[in-house]
Amino acid sequence: MASTVDKAVTTPSRPRTVRLPGRQGANPWRRPWAMEGFTWLYIIWSIVPIAIAVLFSFNKGASQSTWQGFSTKWYVGRGVTSVLHNPSLHHAVTQTLVLAVLTTVICVPIGVGFGIGIDRWRSRTSTGLNFVMIFSFVVPELLLAVALFLLVTQALTFIGLGTEAEVAGLVVWNISWPAIIVRARLVSIGRSYEEAAADLGASRLGAIRRVLLPLLLPAIFASAVLVFASTVDDFVIVEQLSSTAATQPMSVLIYANVHGGLSGPALNALATIMLLFSVAAALIGFVAYRWMTRGERTSGNADALTSIAGI
């Protein structure tokens, strides 16, 4: 219904409002055509190149500008450089998944605990730790990556470059997501539920487990989705902290091969797989978030969308 109405309104050949001379008298609720057109131009600019790149990962030939028919050979084909049969491409997919799962599993619990702890334990130390956490959120990724590179090569050499260092770095780079999101949710929940639980005889730990955690679940879930997707897409930290080809995830492999090397549609296929991981995480996150916050006053599609995007 809504879409048909909108279509009628957006048809530019039939303007619905009469333009009045003079600004003072103009209808203030007139649709801002120019701004809407500009927004659509931006959206086209931001999405079409990606759609073309995805499209050409299914090209029959090796060209990235001429369509030669549909084929999945760059994904599963034999005899060409395909994601399934080229060991380095194949390995990069696995490495990305390993990093994303490990990082999410470590980062979300300690980030959530950090968020709750910092929020409730009001002291000079917790204020300082909060500052450190927000600093880790705004510091340019390259600087953190360089610092971590020097840490594992000069000081904690027992970690060394490789998967362990990558996970350690990704966790510290992403820890602010769960911490910040959980803190924001704690503010909106308030203390009353917990206090009611305490008045009804729940122990402190019981109140956290039975009352606070269920209320925080949407926030925890949203942050897990964000951490997972941002780990899949991460480049700078994993590039600095990976050692050999064996520990290079998809993003690093694409970067290393864009100019020469394994170029062609196989890279597009790899990037498309990366895209699928993130989109799957986003979709699962959206549906689950909507389900978990059903019946809440502020819930809605827009709220769920912005929550899983971290805004």
Partner: protein, 303 residues
Amino acid sequence: MTGRGDSDNRRNRWLWIGLAAPGAIWLLVLFVVPFYVMLAVAGGGINEFFQTVVPIWNPLHWSTWNFSAVWRDIFGSGAFLGSPALRTVLYTAIATVISLAIAYPVAYFVSRYAGRRKVMFLVLLIAPFWVSYMMRMLAWIDLLQQGGLFNSALSSVGLPGNTNWLGGKSITVILGLVYGYIPYLILVLYAYLDRIDQSLLEAARDLGLSKWRTFWHVTIPLSKPAIVAGTFITVLPMLGDYYTNQLLSGAPGTTMIGNAIEGQLDAPGETGQGAVLALMLLGILLIPMAYYVISTARASRDA
């Protein structure tokens, strides 16, 4: 109520400390300590024979050797770091201005006028956020190749279609930076603009202000925090960016300070100088970062 909360907090202090501890330790060991290591490497020396770094852990013994070497590279004769530094500032400034000019109207439109189609617009604006940076750059590399679709499109409308866009053009790198970081900017602007109380704008109109004057005297002042936060969100990563120009140009004529840091870090015997460069960048960014951190902490306390 606060009184009770306080006594409660005191009793449960160890519970909260215990909950925060794993994250706190992780942050200390893998965020605070690494920057100390960076200082130790920057203030350290090198093993002349192996060309390896010798970090000095005691701040009292730090040498200024790496610092003066970097200083010579920037300002001395035969300096090669001056132009990347200047270029970084220039590229970042231009890309930020372009990003704001594009992002503000888009975020403003979606927050104020999208109406019932808001969810659809949000999906479309958030979509690039879920696409990796590498994928978005790869998409443009495909398009901008010499035989690529962009050049074909140009020649089909009668323009010269054989430009080598990926051969070291500043414009490509700047627009690449814009394309890379603008989704974050739009989301930040949207989040702020969406919270502006519409009744203030209606009041301004009711009191007889024209549309443009309402925008200039009410909306713009109200969206100042949005513009400041959005600028931080784009400027900070752009200043540490080394991959965009590497992907879209690869020519020495477009390198930025991030490339210098990365290059020196891996060069034998120059790791210390890479650390110095990273520290210098950190030092410059410390003021805006501290401002951002303090204003965020204040906002979350007031909430």
